[in-house]
């Protein structure tokens, strides 16, 4: 399936409604990047509703990469004791957009 991307900040209730969710799948990624199906009128209307800023796939991937790299650096800086399960989280892994 082909996808399109936008950046929008989730404000909470009403950001994605059940009506939206029943018409298309929205998937969120780090950096407030949202993936929606391409060529879907309802999805396009949703991007307009949430004041989303369209991004190309490459632009969206770059935003995600920046967030992941920053999270990895923050994790690497943690004391070893905080990295060990169950005390801490695993190191964030790279995300490749479809």
């Amino acid at each position: 399936m082909a996808y399109k991307y936008c950046v929008a900040e989730c404000w909470g209730k009403g950001f994605i409604t059940h009506d939206d969710s029943s018409k298309f799948q929205v998937s969120g990624f780090p950096g407030n990047v949202w993936q929606i199906p391409a060529d879907n009128q309802d999805a396009n209307l949703w991007v307009n509703k949430v004041a989303g800023i369209w991004k190309t796939k490459a632009e969206a991937q770059a935003i995600v990469d920046v967030e992941v790299t920053a999270a990895q650096a923050a994790w690497d800086a943690l004391p070893d004791a905080q990295k060990q399960a169950p005390i801490g989280r695993q190191r964030p892994t790279a995300i490749v957009l479809e």
């Binding site: 950001f15 969120g28 780090p30 209307l45 169950p86 995300i95």
Partner: protein, 341 residues
């Protein structure tokens, strides 16, 4: 010409706002938003954004329903000694409000009950011996320490009510060996009793149901790591049932023994995978909008709630989100906007 009136014997109402008491099949025109709307039955479950928590966290205890939920404790980051919280928040279907704190900061604890009568038990604390069996009862306004579990542990499955609860499996850490637990304990409102064990010892498993009819699924052990195993509890013993399609640690769930939702978790990375249990098998259903693990949950298959949770690359120190998502299951009335192209 065929008209709506001719077909159904009713006119399409012209209303300034959506009606409050609507039936499946009802159609109306909302003059304020200039949209034609219909109340339709959902064909599959859907997620919709709910209110944001005040404190981002994961691995917390939870209780309640979609419109009256409670979240308590959890991991919030911030460095050694301060990264586990006592904070308790209550949800009214729209807004999360911070209420009275728990007496002991902990994460990966069990929780069950309602927003006005909840139970929190077990969990991981920030000083030796690190694991606790402490049990606390929520009155709707404050926490009271009651009798502890017999086996202190973290990351356990939990379900039931404040006076009839089950805690199953979990993590015995420390020590670093022999971590997965198969211990099941039953709470009668006064004390915990050890009952028949899970067939598969594991930690980070999800749970759903009541004290006499429960479900446990997913989790983690050292080999083969991310668990898909599912077991059904009849009030006396556990029976192995068909597994999840996707094995995962720190999986969240809500519902009953015969119809439940498993969402998110961690299987090398946080996942957005959501599965529906129909009493016989697990099938993939509408994915959670973001990858998440260790999210809080409340409610039922028809009206569920998931909130917070660890997300990929969420900022330090919490590595988690404030976002919540409301689940509406299949066959439920839902207002839809009619789009004409």
């Amino acid at each position: 010409m065929t008209t709506y009136y001719g077909l159904y014997g009713q006119k399409v109402q012209y209303l300034a706002s959506d009606p409050t008491d609507v039936q499946i099949g009802q159609v109306w025109y909302n003059s304020t938003s200039a949209t034609l709307k219909v109340r339709a039955a959902t064909t599959s479950g859907t997620w919709a954004s709910g209110g944001n928590l005040n404190t981002a966290r994961y691995g917390f205890g939870t209780a309640g329903t979609q419109t009256a939920a409670l979240g308590f404790g959890g991991y919030i980051g911030g460095g050694a000694g301060v990264n586990t919280t006592t904070a308790t928040e209550a949800y009214d279907g729209t807004t999360w409000t911070t209420v009275s704190s728990m007496p002991l900061a902990r994460r990966y604890l069990g929780g069950c009950g309602t927003q006005t009568a909840a139970l929190g038990f077990g969990g991981y604390v920030m000083s030796a011996p690190y694991k606790t069996g402490q049990t606390t009862a929520w009155s709707g306004s404050s926490w009271t320490v009651v009798n502890s579990m017999n086996t202190a542990r973290t990351s356990l499955a939990s379900f039931g009510t404040q006076t009839a609860a089950i805690g199953a499996g979990g993590d015995n850490y420390p020590p670093a060996t022999g971590r997965p637990s198969n211990v099941t304990e039953s709470y009668n409102g006064t004390s915990w009793t050890t009952v028949n064990s899970l067939n598969t010892a594991r930690r980070g498993l999800g749970g759903a149901g009541i004290q006499t009819a429960g479900l446990a699924f997913g989790g983690y052990i050292e080999t083969p790591v991310y668990q898909a195993a599912s077991e059904s509890w009849n009030g006396t013993s556990w029976t192995t049932t068909p597994s999840l399609n996707t094995g995962r640690n720190r999986v969240s769930g809500f519902g009953t023994q015969t119809i439940a939702i498993a969402l998110g978790g961690y299987n090398g990375a946080a996942t957005n995978s959501t599965e529906l249990w129909n009493g016989t098998s697990w099938t993939a259903t509408t994915n959670y909008p973001t990858a998440v693990d260790g999210a809080g949950t409340a409610g039922t298959n028809t009206a569920g709630l998931a909130f917070g949770g660890g997300t990929p690359a969420s900022p330090a120190p919490s590595y988690s989100t404030v976002a919540s998502q409301e689940w509406t299951g299949a066959g439920v009335g839902q207002t839809k906007t009619v789009t004409v192209t």
